[in-house]
């Protein structure tokens, strides 16, 4: 039992899997049909909200009434998309300025911490690691009240710079965990030993030997941090405004009105979700691996 990475990503089958699966031949066709029927049923259920989003976003105002709400639009219109883009456009670009630096900086810090914690058994290393991990689980309300004040006191500009700062800090625990598990299980000790004998110091070993082979973990933490800072609403509502904040704030302003324009809200929800969905579809294999890497397994 260990806090370990459940990588490799589940998309890559272990070679042994064929063997285990071959032992399960001869299932009855009825059972197989039922299994696929259940799988398809859940596909429909899971995709239903997406269907509603897409269909409603293309409807014109008159069609969004109660009747036939589930039907396809009789006339397809981009008007709501245009309206949503007007409301969300500026914050859409701003959120890239938030999520990209957050992803890169927290990953680098996570790599440095993970390497040290996995390979350097200083006294109290376990306690330090546990204290770092606890930071991952805290409800952020418990730090939010003084957070705004301290960030202001440090002179960090309101809005995106502040949010980069806090997402990097509160992303350190999960990134450290992912890299630490990767280094503890995947990088052979002999490699580091060999480098040490060759006279390479810790910093040089890290920069020239460890970083280049850490790409799988980087992919994981970059996707993870990109997604979580893109999707965050809690820090955003406390530390920014619609004027300088990320897209979740703008979307909530668009959709949260008393009688919201459903077509525009849904177009807005799709625009908001597009970058993370693209990242997810393109890099889904690693994303899945990353999800599992993020789990503290005992």
């Amino acid at each position: 039992m260990s806090i370990d990475v459940a990588a490799p990503p589940i998309a890559t089958r272990p070679p042994a899997a064929g063997g285990r699966r071959s032992g399960k031949k001869g299932r009855s066709p009825v059972a197989t049909t039922i299994r696929y029927a259940i799988l398809l049923f859940f596909v429909i259920v899971v995709l239903m909200p997406l269907y509603v989003l897409v269909v409603t976003s293309f409807k014109s105002g008159r069609e969004i009434g109660v009747d036939g709400a589930w039907n396809l639009p009789t006339t397809w219109t981009f008007a709501s998309w245009a309206k949503a883009w007007t409301a969300l456009g500026p914050s859409f670009l701003r959120t890239f300025e938030l999520a990209i630096p957050v992803a890169l900086i927290s990953s680098l810090l996570g790599a440095a911490n993970g390497f040290v914690l996995a390979r350097w058994r200083f006294p109290g290393a376990d306690v330090v690691f546990t204290l770092i991990l606890f930071g991952m689980f805290i409800p952020y309300q418990a730090v939010m009240i003084p957070l705004g004040q301290i960030v202001q006191w440090l002179g960090i500009a309101h809005g995106i710079p502040t949010l980069i700062f806090v997402h990097v800090i509160y992303g350190i625990p999960i990134c450290t965990l992912i890299f630490r598990n990767y280094y503890a299980t995947i990088v052979p000790v002999e490699m580091i030993e060999a480098a040490r004998i060759d006279g390479a110091g810790m910093l040089r070993t890290f920069a020239y030997l460890i970083l280049p082979i850490s790409i799988p973990s980087f992919v994981v933490t970059i996707i993870w941090q990109f997604t979580s800072s893109w999707n965050d609403y809690l820090f955003a509502i406390f530390l920014s405004s619609t004027r300088n904040g990320p897209i979740t704030i703008a979307l909530n302003a668009l959709a949260g009105a008393q009688s919201p324009d459903y077509a525009a809200s849904m177009a807005g929800a799709l625009i908001t979700s597009l970058p993370t969905l693209v990242v997810y579809v393109l890099l889904g294999r690693w994303f899945i691996g990353g999800l599992m890497a993020g789990s503290v397994k005992s």
Binding site: R27, P49, W70, L133, F137, A142, Y170, L251, S298
Partner: protein, 297 residues
Amino acid sequence: MLLRLRRWGPGLLLIGPSLIVLAIFVYGLIGYTVNLSLQKRHDALPSEGYAGLDNYKNLFTDPTGRFQHNLWNLLIFTLVFMGGTLIFGLLWALLLDVRTRFEGFFRTVYLFPMAVSFVASGVVWRWLMNSGQGDNAGGINSIFQGLHLSFLENKWWTTPTWGMAAMAMPAIWQLSGYIMALFIAGFRGIPVELREAAAVDGASTWQLYRRVLFPQLTPTTLSALIITGHMSMKMFDLIMSVSGAQWITEVPSVYVWQTLLTYDYAKAAAIAVFLLAVVAVVIVPYLIHVNRAEKRS
């Protein structure tokens, strides 16, 4: 001295900055919040001194019963959310544990809601959970009508007392795929020999899962529960997006926000610390357990 510096220096250089910011921004700020929760600071003016545990007591003696109502909501939400994600996650993982055509497609579909933010999914779920019934039915209720299942129509999250069970539905939709991924990894992590041995011994499929595979998944299940449990305690975005801040769906994390809007800093701090304590009571023993287990192996 110099030798020591050469030995410890580089490591400290790498990890030091992170340790310093975490010490300040996790433990320092928690300390500040705890301290604040013990003071009389109920407006934008400076503190009027310490109040002991009064702020905590006041939460529970409030004649409206607001905080108890919050905790009830949180309990219902947590139980339904944890139970729902566990059931669907495990079911999907089991269905995909057998060789499946288009396995990647199924996995991707089940997992994709995870990439969507709670704010965005709240937009569509507010529409789906339209509380109108009968002639006014919308969203899921109108589907029930179409399927002649009108008795299933309900008021979703606006239902008194139990409404939070409906609020957990979007969260289940978003996170079940994640729990599925954990269980798939768990199944794949079980040595092939165990399955083979069971097959040689003539175990049926049910016996194989019940007696051999499920016991191996205890750690995975524990992780899944820890992850969904602590997410539930933090749940804020989804509720704000589906219902906005209102009494019927209020939970402690929303109460903190509402209280801050009235500048009652000490009260907001007390709620936040209470929430943190609930999380810590579960997480700290868990982290210690994980740490010990790792040392043993």
